[in-house]
């Protein structure tokens, strides 16, 4: 990964200076280079003017409220970027998480830009639910004449694509707002289009005379280098890192009904940094057998170059309304178009994938036509299972292999079987960092932590405990872990045993659902231990929940409400309020998928 552009030999410097400069430049990040560019621009300007000038405070700046509703952090990152960009448009922008915002904020805003993610089956992100409901309710304030623009994020794999962004867009208009820039609905490959949209939206909102204010690069001589960890990572989905898979082990014992891969990625670049709680993105490759089936289905032979292209770069599994629409248009077939009418689509799409569409409505396609239908293959996010301090130059992931059968075909999770079947230790894969500011260890190492996870949801806690050991943090810790069978599914069992023995993990409780006639899940253990949990909370404990929403997080949430309600005479409303309080205080953090 040393694709960094170097100074050319004909640069106006002495050869030895070029060498020296190259040494420094080679180590820089894009941020550092643009800082340098800005610095010298500003420096020259200051020289010519005789003194260092901050960016001209051009006229009175227009206020801008940037609101985001984020689950995985994508909207949040876009909002943060937009705030920076707003500056040069003469906008005085403030960024708000819907989790912390209320209707009063809306009422006093003059210009609003919204970045809204849609989660699961058309739901707002968990932390944004209260704001969203208030906005949709009769109690929402009028915002007559307020200019707004909405960017919606979603995933075309889900039926209710961008539903939340669409609803907010419509609602702001109903409340009297003026749409200054048309909404855009973006899929997983949103980065480039989002940047363009943000530019366009900000330009529309900018005060008339600020547009000329221009091209001066602002150099903040007082500020430190951008904080890479909590800001934009060096390696992103757009610019991933090629890392070596140093170890790849299925942690489940023989005879397990599960297959959970522990993958250790190794890299040399110290700029690849992450914190426990962050997600690591992994770019998988498709199953070549499936790609081959797909090519056969549309009458394209197994042409090696095309096969490889689709295998590496295109999403060949996801079926979406947009894709069906495009396929209908391309083929001109009425029966395909009919799939989009009424309830036909969800009925057809249930448990089906792209291959099923091609097999059910076979048509011959050209290479270009086929590729034109496909979206780029998105990366998959996994909570990092390691601490960089414990494993310098490594990132560990815990990936559950997904396989199922539907409509007579064996289906394979693209990314999970990429690791489980199509990669071996020693081979490479592309990874990147996706910071998750809302799933972080407490700043104070003495704060007790309660970690609740089922299955691969235990991953971030391995990172947490490793980090605390590396930091010498002495706070108490308590792990609740759930899976199917004790003997074969106790992920990282030996490590937890060591941490218990050393005192680095204070307590553990486990729930194995299939070891006995009745199902036992983590929420049952949480309820059994409610008195101690409340005692830990009294001591300021933070609670973490990681795992899937339907299978676990929902039930754990409901149980925690009851646990908190118990000292409050069992009043569940009060328990819920208490849990909300903990959420606001950052003491109840969830990483849900």
């Amino acid at each position: 990964m040393t694709a960094t552009p170097l100074l050319p030999r004909n640069a106006p410097f002495l050869p030895e200076d070029i060498e020296l400069l190259n040494k420094v430049v080679a180590r820089t990040t894009p941020q550092q280079r643009s800082w340098l560019a800005g610095f010298f621009a500003g420096f020259e300007a200051a020289q010519s003017g005789g003194m260092v000038q901050p960016v001209p405070a051009a006229k009175p700046r227009a206020p801008l409220t940037i609101l985001y509703a984020s689950e995985s952090g994508n909207s949040e990152a876009l909002a943060t970027k937009a705030k920076k960009a707003a500056q040069k448009h003469g906008l005085d922008a403030k960024v708000f998480d819907m989790a912390d915002a209320d209707m009063a904020l809306l009422a006093k805003s003059k210009n609003i830009v919204v970045f809204a993610a849609t989660w699961g089956e058309g739901d707002p992100p968990a932390r944004a639910v209260d704001f969203y409901q208030a906005l949709m309710s009769d109690a929402a304030p009028r915002i007559d004449g307020v200019k707004f623009a909405v960017l919606a994020l979603g995933d075309t794999a889900y039926a209710q694509f961008c539903a939340v962004g669409k609803a907010i867009d419509q609602r702001l208009e109903e409340l009297g707002g003026v749409r200054s820039f048309d909404r855009v609905d973006l899929d997983l490959d949103y980065a480039k289009k989002a940047a363009e949209w943000t530019e366009g939206a900000l330009a529309k909102l900018a005060p008339e005379d600020a547009a000329a204010g221009g091209t001066v690069v602002h150099v903040d001589f007082g500020a430190a280098l951008p904080h890479l960890e909590d800001d934009e990572p060096r390696y992103t989905a757009e610019q991933p890192l090629e890392a070596e898979i140093a170890a790849l082990v299925n942690l489940n014992g023989s005879g397990s009904t599960r297959e959970t891969w522990h993958a250790e990625f190794a890299f040399d670049d110290p700029a690849f940094t992450y914190q426990p709680g962050d997600a690591i993105g992994l770019f998988p490759e498709n199953d070549p057998a499936l790609v081959d089936d797909l090519l056969q289905a549309v009458g394209l032979g197994s042409e090696a170059a095309l096969l490889l292209k689709l295998q590496k770069s295109y999403d060949v599994t996801t079926l979406s309304r947009a894709l069906v629409d495009n396929y209908a248009k391309l083929t001109g077939r009425a029966d395909i178009k009919a799939l989009l009418e009424g309830e036909a689509y969800p009925k057809f799409a249930a448990d089906r994938q792209l291959i099923d569409l091609f097999l059910a409505y076979p048509e011959k396609l050209t290479q270009d036509q086929l590729v034109g239908l496909l979206r780029p293959l998105p990366g998959r996010l996994y909570s990092v299972a390691s601490s960089l301090k414990a494993h310098p130059g490594e990132a560990h992931l815990l990936v559950g292999a997904v396989r199922w059968e539907s409509h007579g075909r064996v289906r394979k999770g693209v990314s999970s079987t990429f690791l489980g079947e199509r990669r071996k230790a020693g081979q490479n894969a592309r990874i990147y960092v996706k910071p998750n500011r809302h799933f972080r260890l407490p700043a104070d190492g003495h704060t007790p932590i309660i970690m609740i996870g089922a299955g691969t949801g235990v991953a971030p806690y391995r990172g947490f405990v490793e980090e605390r050991v590396a930091d010498g943090a002495k706070g108490k810790s308590w792990l609740f872990f759930g899976e199917r069978n004790f003997t074969n599914d106790f992920l990282y069992q030996l490590e937890w045993q060591d941490y218990l023995a050393s005192g680095d993990l204070t307590r553990i409780d486990v729930a194995f659902s299939r070891d006995q006639p009745e199902k036992i899940y983590v929420q049952h253990r949480i309820w059994e231990k409610r008195a101690e949990i409340n005692a830990w909370l009294q001591e300021g404990a933070h609670i973490y929940v990681c795992g899937d929403e339907k299978g676990m997080a929902k039930d754990v949430d409901a149980t925690l409400v009851k646990v908190l309600a118990e000292p409050l005479k069992g009043d569940e409303e009060a328990g819920r309020a208490k849990l909300k309080e903990l959420t606001k205080a950052g003491r109840y953090q969830r990483d849900i998928y």
Binding site: G255, T487, I508, F512, D515, P517
Partner: protein, 576 residues
């Protein structure tokens, strides 16, 4: 002077009558194991910790500890189980264990694969059907075997009654079992805790080693009386049981490469009257408690006490404690150790039409499970649900459906037929084949046994076929280690595991279980076993005398020297 007692003596001494830290250990949810000392103590509660040795290699790599689970052995004196209990056991097998029930070589059941988090509920499930596991393992009197099937004759019933009484009399009195497993719950049986934690018979150190008692009714020696610490032989005169010939000092276990350890056939101690039998058991046990070797566990069984102190001294001490002397042994004769597979009727003279039927069902290696085309477990459950017979576990890993009316006979036959279970056995060798569990669960196993013996028998059946001996009864037994759970040293063909795939081959034991075998070949694999045995089978077929058994033939024809006593086991060995 330093205390030279073995480690286990200290564990017992400090255990607070078998409690140790078992209760605490059950609460440690991060591990499927229990503390090291508790692993010794839990044996007294009828359980061993084991691990799946098939997967040992992968576990560490997967960041998993060994695949621990527990074997639980029941205490069923005489092996008698009611239909209701059978249904309960069958349910436990699929709910908490590995889906199988394993008939042992000592008239009881073992359940394998119970994980720690289910141990307590499994114990409670046994308790709910009035069964317990107390003292099924450990340095105490283990399950008492009696001549199979108390319904077979009056003498069998009296043998069963004696066995049951001995078992109850020698049961540990500690409350540990009830505290740990049953939450102090009360049940009306003999394992109920005494008011005070004391062990009038065992004391705080219990016995130096395990102790096994059997009761035989000649001419059957199905309980293998010579392999046991204490035995009673029913003496029936004029149709009435007049008393018991008492045997002591039998035992199987030895250590490879240590000639100071050896299997030993029991000696006759004397004759006692029926009302003296319990007192005899207690005195034999207390002498062994006081005289037994507590420094070297490999020489701690009663057989070595008698070997070292002499039978006469031992008898004298027992008589001193009893306050009476044994009478001279009465004559008796044993004909064989095997079970009579198939239907038979009650022996006692009665009107023939009133006589109940008993079906001895051959169960290969004692493993009761369903497999495709042969659903033995389901068949037995179905029969149990009809409630038309008692179940009796035999000492040969078979099960007897006892006390069946003539009317119910065809029902039972039909159920077996429907489940693909034949009442016939493919050969006389298989009929008399027995093996211990060994791999993958037994921690002691050096080689396969249960998973290998059926294949070996199949291979040998071809040789027997060629020799024309397919239907002849020849006793073959295999164990995965020299401890001898399947009593291999009393088999006409004995195989004891030494290394994976390699066995020591012993020949020359008596068919009726009264004489030990002799080592014939060392470290032989399957092919070599077959090639060594086939010519012997052929010679036997051609040269045997009338009624001569294979074991006797190998001695008469000089294949191996006879082993007249345990201390001669390692003598006169000439390997092929």
């Amino acid at each position: 002077m330093t205390d030279k007692r073995s480690k286990n003596e200290f564990i017992k001494e400090q255990s607070h009558q078998l409690r140790g830290t078992l209760a605490e250990g059950l609460l440690k949810v991060e591990t499927g194991a229990i503390a090291e000392d508790d692993q010794q103590l839990i044996k007294f509660h009828g359980s061993y910790i084991q691990d799946d040795r098939d997967v040992r290699g992968e576990r560490g790599k997967k960041k998993l500890e060994k695949a621990y689970s527990f074997m639980i052995r029941l205490r069923i004196p005489g092996g008698v189980v009611t239909p209701k209990q059978w249904i309960g056991l069958d349910t436990i097998a699929s709910t908490y264990a590995n889906g199988t029930m394993r008939l042992t070589t000592r008239e009881t059941f073992q359940f394998h694969g119970v994980i720690k988090s289910n141990l307590k509920r499994t114990m409670q499930s046994f308790n709910a059907i009035c069964l317990d596991t107390l003292a099924a393992c450990g340095d105490v009197n283990r399950n008492v075997m009696t001549a199979a099937n108390p319904h077979l004759s009056k003498a069998h019933k009296l043998a069963y009654d004696l066995g049951k009484s001995v078992s109850e009399h020698l049961l540990p009195r500690t409350g540990a079992y009830h505290e740990i497993w049953l939450d102090g719950e009360k049940v009306e049986d003999a394992s109920r805790p005494a008011k005070k934690d004391e062990e009038p018979i065992y004391g705080v150190h219990y016995l130096p080693r395990k102790f096994k008692v059997v009761v035989a009714v000649p001419p059957d020696n199905d309980v293998d009386i010579y392999a046991h610490d204490l035995g009673y032989i029913a003496v029936v005169e004029k149709g009435e049981l007049v008393g018991w010939n008492v045997t002591v000092g039998g035992g199987m276990g030895m250590t490879h490469g240590d000639v100071n350890t050896f299997p030993r056939t029991a000696d006759l101690l004397g004759f006692c009257k029926p009302e003296q039998a319990i007192a005899v058991a207690e005195s034999v046990v207390t002498v062994q408690r006081d005289w037994g070797n507590r420094e070297n566990r490999a020489r701690a069984r009663l057989k070595y006490t008698i070997e070292d102190r002499g039978l006469d001294n031992f008898r004298e001490e027992v008589e001193k404690r009893l306050g009476f002397k044994f009478e001279k042994p009465r004559p008796f004769k044993f004909t064989g150790t095997g079970d009579k597979i198939g239907w038979r009727q009650t022996l006692d003279a009665k009107k023939a039409s009133d006589k109940a039927w008993h079906l001895t069902l051959f169960v290969e290696n004692g493993r009761i499970k369903d497999k495709p085309g042969y659903s033995l477990r389901s068949a037995l459950r179905e029969i149990a649900e009809l409630g038309i017979c008692d179940f009796v576990c035999s000492a040969n890993q078979n099960v007897i459906l006892a006390n069946v009316s003539a009317k119910a006979k065809p029902k039972i036959e039909a159920i077996f037929k429907a489940h693909g279970v034949s009442l016939d056995v493919s050969s006389g060798l298989r009929r008399n084949a027995m093996s211990c569990v060994a791999l993958p669960t037994c921690g002691l196993a050096l080689a396969e046994a249960e998973r290998f013996l059926p294949d070996l028998v199949t291979a040998l059946e071809e040789s027997l076929d060629r020799a024309g001996l397919k239907d002849d009864d020849i006793v073959i037994r295999m164990t995965g280690c020299p401890n001898g759970c399947a009593r291999p040293y009393l088999a006409e063909v004995g195989l004891v595991g030494r290394n994976p795939g390699l066995y020591n081959l012993y020949l020359g034991a008596a068919f009726n279980g009264s004489r030990l075998s002799k080592l014939y070949a060392q470290d032989v694999d399957k092919q070599r076993i077959v090639s060594l045995l086939e010519p012997l089978f052929i010679a036997y077929s051609k040269e045997r005398e009338d009624g001569e058994h294979f074991g006797d033939f190998t001695i008469r024809s000089g294949v191996v020297k006879a082993t007249p006593a345990g201390n001669q086991f390692h003598a006169d060995v000439k390997l092929v």
